[in-house]
Amino acid sequence: MPAFILSRILQAIPVMLAVALIAFALFAFVGDPIATMLGQEFTPAQRDALVAALGLDQPVPVQFLRFVGRALHGEFGLSYRLSRPVSDLILERAPATLELALCASVLALAIGMPMGVYTGLYPRSPLSRFFLTFSLVGVSLPTFLIGSLLILVFAVWLGWLPSFGRGDTVQLGWWSTGFLTASGWKALVLPSITLGLFQLTLIMRLVRSEMMEVLRSDYVKFARARGIRDRAINFGHALRNTLVPVITIVGLQLGSIIAFSIVTETVFQWPGMGLLFIQSVSSADIPVMAAYLLLISAVFVTINLVVDLLYYAVDPRLRAGRGH
């Protein structure tokens, strides 16, 4: 067990280092931060002071090590665009993105699972066909278009829900939450649907195929032969066996949800990390891009690691099968 965990962690380290190298290369070789930060008029002394302050007079390997060291402490320097510490910007924006991602995932699970169970149990019913067609449309519609259409219908035509921003937020320490006000909840509805729709269709299709698979298995037939009630079979036996792959996919998709929030946040002007990132891409704000890249990679690598370890906990064959 410790050997397996150790080897997994050892595999994750080079990935993170490679990403750090890319992020560092962005810093070191792309653009001219000095010119960007000083603007048009400056004295040589001001320039030298800034070069020394940013550590740009050091050899490249030293700069890389310092970069990794500072990144581990959460320091990514100043944003070229806003002249504020990148870590502050990201901490400020993180709650908005995380709350949105959480709502989207919960929504996708809460609606996708029952739809998947239903279509798995009654594959020929008209409602199932409707759900499947709907999921095909959900997969084919680009995220930003879903957002635009939802805004058009629910914000412009019906006027029920706000089309941009987070509504009123409440500060809990450094964390700003939209969960404590009515306008915060209303503002969450459309972005969560936009972000969660793809995951919803994914979960629905996955649960459906797993349910159909399990319902064909011998132990379900045997349980029926024993006269166990349908409900107990469907939910006690079948659904429970579909949960492992569903949990895996939901876990792995959490990273994509955070990444795809870039699009959703742009459509709804949601003040999260994704909007920050897209603004930094269009203005070539390298420190913010590098920090976001590292953060997202860390999230992805951690999620993959956790999923691997969960597999290890769930699947006994991985524990016994070291001898091949």
């Binding site: 962005l26 653009g31 084919s140 635009s148 805004i151 891409v281």
Partner: protein
């Protein structure tokens, strides 16, 4: 003529005729492609001809609405451009970027896959590890990153000039690993077959063996992958353009049109967004359905 009649009698064409979704998708895709490619001749107006634009025509609703005119079937945008013509020219850009990016990803993926599969060992391990790592990140994130780097490296004027190529390369780079994996898999299998050994014995170079003997064996799966990837690439391009970091505003794609229209949703001019959106979805859906059909038709286990 021989090739045509052979195609018409082939299993593939038979399966095509028997699948209504495939026929319907092919018709929709054909209409869109013809409309896009021949836009300069077929479109009712030239949306880039500034002389023909008249601000008096701005925000005309579609012809079926009370204030619409037959001159502009699906209305005009904020600058008086005919939405239908803008869609036809926009689909041209979307298709161009989608096809080029897929070709780029295909060539890169095939080369890497052949190299990894044939060389094996450390080369294989390193290349496939890179592909694995990249596959864990969503395509759009990679494309955004490449685009952001290009923006930072190139001076603004240069970037605006070659923005369309930057987008093609960015999307192509984000899509290569799947091609590489498929090709590598079959290169590994074919490498140890007797005909490859025989070819090696008579002194044919590895590069030639790969391209003339191994590659033809993966053409089927590659074709399916390329079709499905075309749909993805078109969506990626539209997303980048929607986010404002894609093709330049002087060459608006469908994504750019949707973004422009988004600003007018609140004043009620919905047609500026909705019709380009419908065109985009029709394009992507028909390509995806064709890809799905091709996958099933070429899979011998499903026959």
């Amino acid at each position: 003529m021989g090739a045509v009649s052979r195609f018409l009698e082939s299993d593939l064409f038979w399966s095509f005729r028997r699948t209504p979704t495939a026929v319907l998708s092919a018709i929709v895709a054909f209409v869109i492609v013809v409309g896009a490619v021949f836009a300069p001749w077929l479109a009712p107006y030239n949306p880039f001809d500034l002389a023909s634009l008249d601000l008096m025509d701005a925000f005309n609703p579609p012809a079926f609405m009370p204030e619409g005119t037959a001159a502009h079937l699906i209305g005009t945008d904020d600058q008086g451009r005919d939405v239908l013509s803008a869609i036809m020219y926009g689909a041209r850009v979307s298709l161009l970027v989608g096809v080029s990016a897929t070709a780029f990803a295909l060539i890169l993926g095939v080369l890497v896959g052949l190299l990894a599969g044939y060389a094996g060992g450390a080369v294989d391990a390193v290349l496939m590890r890179i592909a694995d790592v990249q596959l864990t990140f969503p395509n759009i994130l990679i494309a955004l990153l490449v685009d952001g780097v290009a923006r930072a490296v190139l001076p603004r004027e240069v970037h605006d000039e070659i923005a369309i190529y930057v987008v093609i390369v960015a999307i192509g780079i984000s899509d290569w690993p799947r091609f590489a994996r498929t090709v590598r898999g079959s290169a590994l299998v074919e490498r140890n077959k007797e005909y490859v050994l025989a070819a090696r014995v008579i002194g044919i170079s590895p590069a030639r063996i790969m391209l003339t003997h191994v590659l033809p064996n993966v053409l089927g799966p590659l074709l399916v992958l390329a079709t499905l990837n075309l749909g993805l690439a078109i969506v990626s391009e539209a997303t980048l353009s929607f986010l404002g970091v894609g093709v330049p505003p002087t060459q608006p794609s469908l994504g750019t049109l949707i973004r422009i229209g988004n600003d007018f949703l609140f004043s009620g001019e919905w047609w500026i967004t909705v019709f380009p959106g419908v065109a985009l979805v029709a394009m992507v859906l028909s390509v995806n359905l064709l890809g799905d059909w091709l996958r099933d038709a070429l899979n011998p286990r499903l026959r």
